[in-house]
Every structure is written in structure tokens, then in C-alpha cells.
């Protein structure tokens, strides 16, 4: 009985992230537009876009292979799984131990791997540019991310997100330099990974500096829908991750009952809103940088992560 209940909660989490993801994207777009003085689309616009795309006929290039057709689903699945493994409204869900923070990072890596391959499948120069740059950015973002993961895990003594979140809620955390560094690093990585300004611009096409969009240029119809959904999920994932690690308040504990869950969900919604607002603010106040400045930008994240880690090692011994 408890098992079924747990499964339901886990299922709810999966559904929740899937449902909220386009909304978050929509909210960010709306706020950005407002900040720039435009009216902006409705926050529900991403849902409409997705539905429209799924119903459209998919156009494939003549030499598209099976990989091209399966990759969107795979990418979507991996990011979805990763997103549902991050505690949102409650910690200690039944399957939360099936993958820890490192595995979640690696899952995102898998998704990126297949997307980059899909970008090369047709054999266009744009696809190649996109894949190549995406992988270059990822090669620096992923280690930076892992450094941050290390820092957090060392503080909490675990790589399990549930445990970490529970620890962060507890009284032992205190203010630590390492964690601050990790937070900055994580934000930088999140920006890079989600193809946001200043690393990439999600709203542009036909620009030689684009990265993510160049990669998915050949996609259309339902495949594009999956990819768009996956991007939305990824943004949500990072926001929830930051929330879970650095603002874990309000989260329900394992098997806490429906009321606690509802409260947790509410808090989660608030955090997402806050995160979206901050992102929009940041994006409107900064300009896009050249692609070859990106490694330096990410290098900063890597250094911050490593610095935080080393500080941690050192302070622990004092």
C-alpha cells in the first residue's frame, strides 16, 4: 500500500515537472518582454507552441537516419528523468536514490551527447557548428558542474540530493564561502547549459554565433516539439536544482502526507517564479558575448568550483 502511495507521489513529481516546465519558459519570456518594455506573449504560449508542433507533419531530410528520429525522444526522456529525480516539493521520494547528483549531471550529458549527434546527422555545416560548440561549452561546463557537486556533497557528506537537501535545511550548514562560490558557479553553468544570454541566445536564428539553435535547425514537427520540451525541462531542472540546494526551505520530508506535499508544492512554485524573475532580470541587463569568450566565462565557473572545493578541504582540516 505504502509502495503504491510512494509510486503515486513519484509519478506526481514526474507529471509536475513536465507540466510546469513550459510555464516557466513562458514566464521568463513574458517577464523579459515586460522588462524590455514590450507586452510579450502569454505565459501559456509555450504550451500552445508545443501542441501545435506535435500535430504538424514532420519533415525529414532525405538522408536522415534512425538516429535523427529517435534522438529527440531520447533527449527528452533523459532530461525528464533527470528533472524528476531532483527533489522539488518533497525529499526522499521512492526512486530518488536510483541516481545521485553525479548521475543526474551525467544524464544531462547523455542527453547532450545524443542531441549533438543528431545535429551532425544530416551533414550540414550549421549542424556541425552547433554540435561542435555545444560540446566545447559542455566540456567546460560539465567539470565545473561536477566541482560544484563535489563542494556541495562534501559539505553534506553525501551525493544523494535528498540527503543534501535535508542537510541544507538543517542547522549545521551555516554560511560558508565554499557554498557561495558554488552557487555562483552553478548559476554560470546553468546559464551556459540552458543556452541563455550571454552564452547563447534562445530567441535568435540565423546568427553565426548561435549554438543550440544551429544544432536543431533541421528539426520540425513533433521532433522539434520534443526538443523544445526538453529545453524547457532543462531550464526547470536547473532552477529546481539551485532551489533544492541553496533554498531548500518548505520542502516536505519523505512520506509526510498530502498537506505537507501541498505546502511543498506551493513553496516550489514560488521558488520557480523567483528563479524565473532573476533569470529574466539578468538576461535583459547583459549582452551576448563572442563564442570564444565562452571558455573563459566557463573557466571562471570551473575555477570557482575548484576553489570552493579546495577551501573546503582545507577548512575541514583546520
Amino acid at each position: 500500500m505504502a509502495l503504491i502511495l510512494n509510486l503515486i507521489v513519484q509519478g506526481a513529481q514526474m507529471a509536475l515537472v513536465l507540466l510546469l516546465a513550459p510555464l516557466l519558459t513562458g514566464v521568463v519570456r513574458l517577464m523579459k518582454a515586460r522588462l524590455m518594455g514590450r507586452r510579450g506573449p502569454s505565459p501559456l504560449q509555450p504550451y500552445r507552441d508545443l501542441l501545435r508542433l506535435t500535430r504538424k507533419e514532420a519533415v525529414l531530410a532525405e538522408n536522415a537516419s534512425w538516429l535523427f528520429r529517435t534522438a529527440p525522444y531520447l533527449v527528452f526522456a533523459m532530461i525528464w528523468v533527470a528533472a524528476s529525480l531532483i527533489p522539488t516539493f518533497a525529499t526522499g521520494l521512492i526512486f530518488s536514490w536510483s541516481a545521485d547528483l553525479i548521475a543526474i549531471v551525467a544524464l544531462l550529458g547523455s542527453a547532450r551527447f545524443f542531441l549533438a549527434l543528431a545535429g551532425m546527422d544530416i551533414g550540414t555545416s550549421f549542424g556541425g557548428i552547433g554540435s561542435s560548440r555545444e560540446m566545447m561549452i559542455a566540456s567546460l561546463a560539465e567539470p565545473a558542474m561536477l566541482m560544484i557537486v563535489f563542494t556541495v556533497s562534501l559539505v553534506a557528506g553525501s551525493t544523494q540530493l535528498s540527503t543534501v537537501a535535508a542537510f541544507m535545511q538543517g542547522p549545521d550548514v551555516g554560511l560558508r564561502v565554499s557554498l557561495a562560490l558554488a552557487l555562483i558557479g552553478l548559476v554560470i553553468v546553468a546559464i551556459a547549459e540552458n543556452a541563455r544570454i550571454p552564452v547563447d541566445n534562445p530567441a535568435t536564428h540565423l546568427e553565426l554565433t548561435m549554438v543550440h539553435e544551429a544544432m536543431v535547425l533541421e528539426y520540425s514537427g513533433r521532433h522539434l516539439a520534443m526538443i523544445e520540451a526538453a529545453s524547457a525541462l532543462k531550464l526547470l531542472l536547473y532552477v529546481s536544482l539551485i532551489a533544492c540546494l541553496f533554498a531548500p526551505f518548505g520542502m516536505a520530508t519523505a512520506a509526510a502526507g498530502p498537506v505537507a506535499y501541498a505546502a511543498g508544492a506551493l513553496a516550489y512554485g514560488g521558488k520557480l517564479l523567483g528563479g524565473g524573475l532573476l533569470l529574466a532580470l539578468f538576461e535583459t541587463s547583459i549582452a551576448k558575448m563572442r563564442v570564444f569568450r565562452v571558455p573563459e566565462f566557463l573557466g571562471v565557473a570551473l575555477m570557482l568550483g575548484l576553489l570552493g572545493l579546495v577551501l573546503l578541504f582545507v577548512t575541514r582540516s583546520l
Binding site: 546527422d121 554540435s131 566540456s139
Partner: protein
């Protein structure tokens, strides 16, 4: 058990006769490879049986009155050698089966047939040897037979050069090990491992032996900067041999290091782990960076072996560091991570080399810039190769991720280390490991994307044909194993229990009994990983939306010309190339790591010639070490060579000089 193993090895050596008999004996190729497959299968079973039975039992030993006369040849199967027997013979079995098909395409099959089984036999003998003489004899025999395989295709000067560099490096390594064993055995010649174990060397001696072991076994494994031979020799051999050399022989080298460092040398000093860790870190990142820059598919794979060896050594270094501080449990984790990666790497690297062999047979090309679009012509090969690529890039839920994950877990336990230098080094190595894992993914996006995706860049690639059933069967089995190890890692971690028990005196808790086959190295609150669930989740989340969309939205698909932002070209040369794919990474790391220089030759307006772009990349190990040594030897040889052209009077002067010198020594001596 040892008798059966010995008989199997003997069979392997005798199978070598198929080489010279080729041409007189029908089906020599099939007989040789099938025989090799049979023998390795027997050895594999032996290894498995020994490993499973190793838990409480004493190691099986035997000795023969061959080898060093007063010593005899000692053999022994303990958990460590049993585990490596499994790894080696799994790779050997796969390569043999693959060879049944691949061998038909060989131009001079006799040159491969004669030495392929001997190579397998040599590697097995190394694992069984229990005295220094038998060990080194097998070790060098392994080098010898693999050298002959590298030069099998001897008409290409490049192969000869590769073989030469390989053999000289191998010999250097053997001499280093020889010196090490000499020091361990002492002037009385106690060469049996039993004797060496009993007489624990002092700390100074042990340090020298460790350095020599790193030099000897490390050069074979391909530790930077001793890796120089590896990217030359591995691609030069026929592909199934490349797979063996890269996937299996480097593991035998790791075995050699583990045997010496963990078993024979006694308790480690604190700094051993540091040295091994740092070397492993440098090896990992340099290996993958060099791999990224290669456009020769097999050379890319070979350089990538260097990276994986680095990861394995990081695991071993952690184990040494923890063992020196008495944290046996964590040491067991590090060691298990390293050793699991040994198995994993042998699986996917063999798989990838098999794939490159299939491509080579189908197109005659190793140069990635002339390949492309093979996923259409060779769908099965492409699928297996993709699995290999994903596995080697450490993507969950495949096997490569499991061992890297365990390594990370061991790194995260390093605050338990009391030493300062280690505390700084371990996180740095962790960063390097993370960096190289990410770069590996880039590298294999490039490898798979350029070779199998896109449009064919040459006529040969356009006319490629799928590999035959033996090759596909072998690749398929390896791909399946990659998935299995990734999904139920607990099974393999449990198998490693006796090994870590033997070497560091502790083991990870039993994994198979845990619910849902989860992998929990230390404690569940700390970390856990479940490949099986992850696989199920991904499968569910892939299939469910696809079904839903196909059922309720639309499944209509139309084929059309490629879009390419509205500016499509039909020329395949307009595709992104391997070189351009690696360009961003080259810009980031280029000047520092490769001494990269770009030469652009742009014609003036009005000129009709083509513009040329040329990138010059160097392997620093060659620039800073090998070339100077080679030049030095050559210079001395040139200087000395004048002594061949002296007049008789001058030769007499030399004699006279020697006489006077000796007489003066005599006069002074009193």
C-alpha cells in the same frame, strides 16, 4: 585448474602453426581463430571459476621444472589473476570470434595467424606467473608477439616505424621491471613471488621499485609521457589485434603494476598514492586532448586508451593513498573502481576497435575526413559503435559511467586523508577526471558523428558494405555486455570483492542482495546508483511520449531536401569535418598542450589557386623527450663512428693508451 589453463595456453601456442601452414591447410584462418576462441573460452571459464571460488579458498599454485633451473616456473591463480583472466579472455574471445570474419580480409594472413594465438597465450602467461623470471619471460613474449602483429602489414613504412618504436619502448619497460625485480629479489636471486612477499623491502628500496614499476608497467599501459608508442602501434596492427592491444594488453600492464605495487611491495608509503594519482590525472587529460585532435579513427581510439588508463591509475592511486592511511574500506572502493574500469574499458575499447575494423574493411579508410554517412550502409555496426561511444563517454546507464562514478565516490571520501598535499591533489585530480570525462564525450561525438553520420565524404564510404556475421556477432555481444555491466554493476562489484580483500584487506559490501540491484559502495545515505531503474525510466519516458504522440497527435512524416537555414549545398565537402569539429577545443587548449600552429595560405584577390589551411600539432612527449633522446643517441653514434675509420697506428695508440692507463692504475693502487 592450472593444468587445464596450461593446456589451453599450450593449445594457443600450437595454433600459431596455422600461420606457416596457411596456404597448405584449407580453412587455416577459421581453424586458428575458432581454436583461439575455444581456448580463450576455456581460460575465461577457469578465471570465472577461480574468481567465484576465490572468496575463502587459498590460491591455486603449481610449479614446473622449466624456466630458471634452480627455481622452476611457478604459477598461481589468486583472485587478482583470476579477475584479469576474465578480462583478458573475454577480450580474447571476442577478438577471436571477430577474427574469423575479419581474418578473411587480411592480405598476408599467415603473418597474423602465426602470432595471434601466441599473443593471447603470452598475456595469459603473465597473469599466471608467480615468479619474476616466468613473469618477465611471459611479459616480453607478449611484447614480442604483439610486435610481430604490429608489423604484420609490413609493406607500409609507417607500420614498421610504429613497430620499431613499440618494441624499443617495450624493451625499455621490460628492463625497468627487470631491475625492479632484481632489487626485490636481492643478490641471492630469490625470484619467486612467495620469497619476495615474505621479504618486505625497506622503504627506500620499495620507492625505487615503485618508480621502476611505473616506468615498466606504465610504459606498457601508456602512461603519459611514456605513451608515445601506443598511438603509433595500436592502429598499425590489424583491427582485432588493435582491440587486443588497446583493450586487453594495456590491462595486463595494469595487472603488472597492481601485482607489484599492491601485492609484492608490502604496505605503501603515503606519497605513492600521490605520485600515481598525479600521473593518472595527467595521463587522463592529455590522452583525451590528443585523442580529440586525431583524424585517424584508429589513432583516435588509441589515444583514448591513454585517457582510460589514466582513469584506472587514478583509481589505483586513490587506493594506494587510502591504504597508506589505513582506510582499507575506501581503498577497496578506489581499487574496485579502477579494476571495474579495467573490465569496462576492455569491453568498449575492443568494441570500438572492432567497429573501426569493420569500417576499414568496408571502405579501406581510417581517415575520418574521407568517411561519413555509414549509418545507412552499415546500420548494425553503427548501432554497436554508438553503444561503445556512449559507454566510453561515461554516459549512464552504460558501464563506463559506473566505474567513473565509483572513482568520484572515492574522491569524495578523500577528506579522510590527513596529508596536506594529498588534500590539494585529490580535488584537482577530481576536476581533471571530470574534465576528461566531458572531453571524452566531445571526442566521441566527433568520432561517431563524422564517421557514421552526415553524408559520405568519399566514393569508398558511399559504397561501404555491412560487416559479416562474425564481426557483427562479436560486436553485438560486447555492446550487450556494456549494457549489462552498466545495468547490474553490483554483480561485477561483488566479483571484485575477493580481489580487493586480497590486495587491501577489505571489500565493498555485498551488492547483489540490495533491493532493485542498487549499487551502494559505502552507505545509502551517502550515495547510490541504480542503472537498471535508470534504464527502465529512460525507456519508459522515451517510449511513452512517442506512443502518445504517434497515437493521438500525428505520425505523418515527409522526406524533403535538407534545410540548412535555406542555403543547402549538395557537396558533401561542405559538411563539418573532423578538423573543424575539434577546432574550438583546439583553440582553448591548443597553444598550451599541442604547440598548435595554424598556417593559412590565402590567395590574393584575383588569384585562382585554392586557399590552404594547415594545422600543425605536436605531441609534446615527442618534442621534449623522445626526439632529444633519439637525436642524442644519433649524435653520439655519429661521433663514435669515427672510431671505425681510424688507421692501424691510431688503433695501436688506443691499445697503448689502455695499457699505460692500467699500469698507472696499478702503480697508484699500491
Amino acid at each position: 585448474m592450472l593444468i587445464v589453463a596450461a593446456l589451453a595456453i599450450l593449445c594457443l601456442i600450437l595454433l600459431g602453426l596455422c600461420g606457416p601452414l596457411h596456404g597448405r591447410l584449407g580453412h587455416a584462418t577459421s581453424i586458428a581463430y575458432a581454436g583461439a576462441a575455444g581456448a580463450t573460452a576455456v581460460l575465461l571459464l577457469m578465471g570465472l571459476a577461480a574468481l567465484i571460488g576465490a572468496a575463502g579458498a587459498a590460491p591455486v599454485t603449481a610449479s614446473l621444472s622449466v624456466g630458471l633451473p634452480w627455481l622452476g616456473a611457478h604459477f598461481r591463480i589468486d583472485a587478482l589473476s583470476a579477475y584479469f583472466m576474465v578480462v583478458v579472455n573475454l577480450g580474447g574471445l571476442a577478438a577471436s570470434i571477430y577474427g574469423i570474419g575479419y581474418g578473411e580480409h587480411e592480405r598476408q594472413p599467415g603473418r597474423v595467424l602465426a602470432f595471434f594465438p601466441a599473443f593471447l597465450a603470452g598475456m595469459n602467461m603473465v597473469l599466471l606467473a608467480d615468479d619474476a623470471f616466468a613473469f618477465l619471460l611471459s611479459w616480453e613474449f607478449m611484447s614480442l608477439s604483439s610486435w610481430l602483429l604490429v608489423v604484420a602489414n609490413h609493406r607500409q613504412p609507417d607500420n614498421l616505424h610504429a613497430g620499431y618504436v613499440y618494441l624499443v619502448m617495450a624493451s625499455m619497460g621490460t628492463f625497468a621491471l627487470l631491475l625492479g625485480f632484481g632489487l626485490l629479489a636481492g643478490p641471492e636471486g630469490g625470484y619467486a613471488f612467495e620469497t619476495i612477499r615474505a621479504a618486505a623491502p625497506g622503504s627506500g628500496r620499495a620507492a625505487i621499485v615503485l618508480a621502476l614499476a611505473l616506468l615498466g608497467a606504465g610504459s606498457k599501459a601508456g602512461i603519459v609521457p611514456l605513451h608515445a608508442w601506443l598511438p603509433l602501434a595500436h592502429p598499425a596492427a590489424p583491427s582485432h589485434v588493435s582491440a587486443l592491444m588497446s583493450g586487453v594488453m594495456t590491462k595486463v600492464a595494469v595487472y603488472g603494476f597492481v601485482r607489484i605495487a599492491f601485492d609484492l611491495l608490502g604496505p605503501p608509503d603515503w606519497w605513492w598514492g600521490l605520485v600515481v594519482l598525479v600521473l593518472g590525472g595527467i595521463t587522463a587529460v592529455m590522452g583525451v586532448l590528443y585523442a580529440l585532435m586525431q583524424h585517424d579513427l584508429k589513432r583516435l581510439l588509441a589515444y583514448h586508451t591513454v585517457e582510460n588508463i589514466g582513469i584506472i591509475y587514478i583509481g589505483l592511486g586513490l587506493a594506494l593513498a587510502f591504504q597508506a592511511q589505513g582506510h582499507a574500506g575506501v581503498a577497496a572502493l578506489g581499487l574496485a573502481a579502477g579494476l571495474l574500469h579495467v573490465l569496462n574499458h576492455s569491453l568498449f575499447k575492443s568494441l570500438l576497435f572492432f567497429g573501426s575494423g569493420a569500417v576499414l574493411v568496408a571502405t579501406g579508410e581510417r581517415d575520418m575526413e574521407r568517411l561519413g554517412g555509414l549509418i545507412h550502409r552499415m546500420p548494425a555496426t553503427a548501432l554497436y559503435f554508438l553503444v561503445g561511444c556512449a559507454a566510453i563517454s561515461a554516459l549512464p546507464p552504460l558501464n563506463g559511467f559506473v566505474s567513473e562514478w565509483m572513482t568520484f565516490q572515492a574522491i569524495l571520501l578523500s577528506p579522510q586523508l590527513p596529508d596536506w598535499t594529498l588534500r590539494f591533489a585529490v580535488p584537482a585530480v577530481g576536476a581533471i577526471l571530470a574534465l576528461s570525462a566531458a572531453l571524452a564525450a566531445t571526442c566521441f561525438v566527433k568520432a561517431f558523428g563524422i564517421v557514421f553520420l552526415g553524408r559520405p565524404r568519399s566514393l569508398e564510404a558511399a559504397a561501404a558494405r555491412e560487416a559479416d556475421r562474425w564481426q557483427l556477432g562479436s560486436m553485438g555481444a560486447l555492446a550487450a555486455l556494456c549494457v549489462v555491466v552498466g545495468v547490474v554493476p553490483g554483480l561485477f562489484v561483488d566479483l571484485l570483492g575477493p580481489v580487493t580483500q586480497l590486495l587491501v584487506g577489505d571489500r565493498l559490501g555485498p551488492q547483489l542482495g540490495l533491493p532493485w540491484l542498487t549499487l551502494v559502495p559505502v552507505a545509502e545515505a551517502r550515495s547510490s546508483y541504480n542503472g537498471l531503474l535508470l534504464l527502465l525510466f529512460i525507456a519508459f519516458s522515451t517510449v511513452a511520449p512517442a506512443l502518445l504522440i504517434h497515437r493521438y497527435a500525428t505520425r505523418a512524416t515527409r522526406r524533403g531536401a535538407l534545410w540548412d537555414c535555406g542555403t543547402p549545398t549538395s557537396d558533401p565537402a561542405a559538411q563539418y569535418s573532423a578538423g573543424s569539429f575539434a577546432q574550438p577545443i583546439r583553440r582553448v587548449f591548443g597553444a598550451m598542450v599541442f604547440h598548435a600552429r595554424e598556417h593559412v595560405d590565402m590567395p590574393q584577390p584575383g588569384e585562382t589557386r585554392a586557399a590552404r589551411f594547415h594545422v600543425d600539432l605536436r605531441d609534446l612527449a615527442w618534442d621534449f623527450f623522445y626526439d632529444p633522446v633519439a637525436r642524442g643517441v644519433s649524435a653520439v653514434a655519429g661521433r663514435m663512428n669515427h672510431l671505425q675509420f681510424l688507421t692501424i697506428r691510431r688503433y695501436l695508440t688506443l691499445v697503448f693508451g689502455a695499457l699505460v692507463l692500467l699500469l698507472m692504475v696499478l702503480a697508484v693502487w699500491h
